[in-house]
């Protein structure tokens, strides 16, 4: 492209062409980070479930800390690459970053609150993390879906929120939350909140490219 003067018609064509060119980037969000967190959550839950079914010990719940311990460094490693590879940052990126940073900060502060409860003799407070995973993460996934106009995220997020409130309702009714169904439900929610939408977005993108 040179620095020549344009006719009004050429100007309009050029504006349309450049907007279209930059839209191609908007259409393909970076999915590695969300998929990484989902896989990590599912694998950790699978480990907890397997060990709990073989021989339950309360110590197995420490395995849940693998999610932040492995996830946060991996997130930091993947994050800078995202911006540099694409070379651009859209309003959608800013909104999605804001949503997930908020979710991350809630997780950190909730962990601290649950830790304080644990120290003061109320280890059952850790159940709050389960509600967080279902409801807060589900809400964020639904919001991401609305922003990206990807219905699979919205469906997954709404399902997770409803699952979370169902779990709360069951607990309020004194129905025991059994590992044998709560953890598979948790895994299923992460599967439909992140893995399925990522798969669908990737497929749509490949179809469009073809």
């Amino acid at each position: 492209m040179e620095n020549k003067e344009l006719t009004p018609q050429e100007s309009l064509t050029l504006i349309a062409r450049m907007i279209e060119a930059s839209k191609q980037r908007v259409a393909m969000p970076d999915l590695r980070i969300s998929v990484m967190w989902a896989v990590l959550s599912i694998v950790t839950a699978a480990v907890v479930l397997t060990v709990s079914l073989i021989r339950y010990t309360p110590w197995i719940n420490l395995v849940w800390f693998a999610i932040p311990v492995i996830g946060i460094p991996l997130n930091i490693m993947l994050s800078p690459k995202t911006g540099i590879q694409t070379g651009t940052k859209t309003f959608l990126d800013t909104v999605c970053d804001g949503i997930w940073k908020t979710v991350g900060f809630i997780a950190i502060f909730l962990t601290i609150i649950c830790g304080i409860f644990q120290i003061t003799g109320y280890p059952q407070a850790w159940l709050a993390m389960l509600y967080y995973a279902f409801i807060i993460v589900g809400f964020a996934a639904a919001m991401t879906g609305i922003v990206l106009r990807e219905n699979s995220y919205v469906v997954g997020g709404v399902f997770s929120i409803l699952a979370g409130f169902t779990v709360i309702a069951l607990q309020l009714c004194n129905i025991p939350l059994l590992v044998v169904w709560v953890i598979p439900l948790y895994m299923f929610c992460f599967l439909i909140m992140f893995i399925v939408p990522a798969f669908m977005i990737r497929r749509k993108f490949n179809d469009r490219k073809r």
């Binding site: 620095n3 003067e5 907007i19 930059s22 540099i84 070379g87």
Partner: protein, 93 residues
């Protein structure tokens, strides 16, 4: 009839502004690829837009590599909108 902003009425500068109207920020490499321009020419035109207050240019490091990130200012956004409005009157749209 209102004059078209001479700063925007050039192929490369208009292309850059059009891209930056749709994204929050874009780096030099991205702009160069999308506009298919040479680094030297793009750099000169970015400086002109920046001097006019249409663009904000930030230089940062991505690891060890320098990275130039551009974003449109409020003044630039307003100028672009005025430019498009004037174009419409020229073309009777």
């Amino acid at each position: 009839m209102k004059e078209l902003d001479p700063l925007l009425h050039s192929q490369l500068r208009l292309a850059v502004m059009s891209i930056l109207m749709t994204v929050e920020e874009a780096d030099f490499v991205y702009l160069r690829e999308k506009t298919e321009s040479t680094a030297g020419n793009l750099s000169v035109q970015l400086d002109k837009l920046s001097s006019a207050g249409y663009l904000c240019i930030q230089k940062e490091f991505a690891g060890k590599r320098p990275r130039t990130v551009c974003s449109i200012t409020l003044q630039g956004r307003k100028a672009f909108e005025d430019y498009v409005d004037t174009l419409r009157t020229y073309l009777n749209l």
